[in-house]
Symmetry: C2
Subunit: 200 residues, 2 copies
C-alpha cells in the first residue's frame, strides 16, 4: 500500500512511524498534513527539531533538560534546596510542577532500573544524585518514581543507597485517586489506601 | 504546566500540537522522544520534512503528489488510461491502490466542495480533470469521493459537468462492509445495500 507513495513522502511517513504510539495510518495522515503546510510552517517544524537537539542538554545539578547550564528550578532562589524529589523522566517533573504544591527541587533519573532491558543504576543519573547529597544541605529525598514494578525497585534501590547518609527518605502516598470511585478501585490500591489511612 | 518546559523544547511541543489528532500530552511525549533520539536520527526527521516539501509537487496530469513531473501511475505504461478514478485526496488513491484491483488512473481533487468552508470547484483540481477528457481517450470516470454530504455533492457536481461529454460516469457501490454485521449496520447503509442488490 505504502509502496505507492513517492520516495520523499515515504521517508517522511517512516519518520513519523518511528514515533511512539504512531501507527502506519496516522503516520500517513501526519505526513500529508505536513506536506500541505505552507513552506515556512514546515521549516519552523523542521528547525524546532534540530533546535531542541542542539540547545537542550542536562542541567548540571538535577539532570533535567535545560537550555542553560542550570534548569529554571535549580537556578531559582525561591525553591527549597533542602528537598529533592526524584523522578524517572522530565515529564514526571512537569506533572509535579503542575500541582503548584511542591517548592523543592528535582532529580531526574532518566529511566528506571530494568535488568531485562539491560538498564542498571549506571545508566541512570544515580551518581549525580549521590554527589548532591554530600554537602549536607539536603534534609529529605522524596522518591516519586512510578508505581510500577521497575519504579518500585528503583525507589528501593536508591533508598538503600541513601540510608547510610542519614537523610529522610519518603515515598509518594498510594491511595484512591481524587474523584475516583471506591467500587471501581482495584484491590491493591484499596489495600494501600487502607494501610496509609490518616486521622481526620 | 507547559510553562516549565525550556523554550526550544516548548517550541517543539507546540509544533507537534499543531498536527491533527495530537493533543497536549501526546505532543509532549513526542517532543521528548525526538529529544532522546540520537542526533543523526533527529536530523533525518528534520530533513525529511523539508525534503518532502521541496521535492514533492503535483503530477501534471492527475494532480496526485509526485517527485517527478508525472506520478508513477500516470507514468506507467501498463495502467489503463481510459478509466479515471476521481478521489478527494492522495490518501484515498493509496487506499484504492491497496485493493490491487484497480488498473486505471486517478484524478485527485485535493478536497471537496464545501461552501461553508469557502471551498468551491475553483479551489479543487476540477478544470485539470476536464482538460484530461478533451482528447476522447477516456471511456469511464469513477466517482470515488467519500460517502459524506460534501463528497456526494462534489460527485454530483462533477457528474453534471461531465454528462454533456458523453462519458460513462459511475459511483462506488454502497452496501454492507465485508465482515460487517447486518444487525449493527445503520439503516441508511442497509437501505442502499438493498437498493444495490445483485443477482447471485
Amino acid at each position: 500500500m505504502a509502496s505507492y507513495n513517492v520516495a520523499p513522502l515515504q521517508r517522511l511517513v517512516e519518520q513519523f512511524e518511528r514515533l511512539p504510539g504512531i501507527g502506519g495510518k496516522t503516520a500517513q495522515r501526519l505526513a500529508y498534513f505536513v506536506l500541505n503546510m505552507p513552506e515556512d510552517r514546515a521549516r519552523e517544524f523542521s528547525d524546532a527539531i534540530m533546535d531542541a537537539h542542539k540547545k537542550i542538554h542536562r542541567c548540571r545539578i538535577c539532570c533535567n533538560f535545560s537550555d542553560q547550564e542550570l534548569c529554571p528550578v535549580c537556578r531559582s532562589e525561591t525553591r527549597d534546596k533542602t528537598t529533592i524529589c526524584v523522578v524517572e523522566t522530565p515529564r514526571d517533573a512537569i506533572a509535579i510542577e503542575g500541582t503548584n504544591e511542591y517548592k523543592g527541587t528535582y532529580h531526574v533519573l532518566h529511566g528506571v532500573i530494568s535488568p531485562l532491558n539491560g538498564i542498571g543504576p549506571d545508566q541512570l543519573c544515580v551518581k549525580e544524585l549521590l554527589s548532591r547529597l554530600n554537602n549536607g544541605e539536603v534534609n529529605e529525598v522524596i522518591m516519586a518514581t512510578n508505581p510500577s514494578v521497575e519504579g518500585e525497585a528503583t525507589a528501593m534501590y536508591i533508598s538503600r543507597l541513601l540510608k547510610p547518609l542519614g537523610i529522610k527518605i519518603t515515598r509518594l502516598a498510594y491511595g484512591i485517586p481524587v474523584g475516583g470511585d471506591l467500587e471501581y478501585t482495584d484491590y491493591v490500591t484499596l489495600a494501600r489506601a487502607l494501610e496509609g489511612r490518616s486521622e481526620l
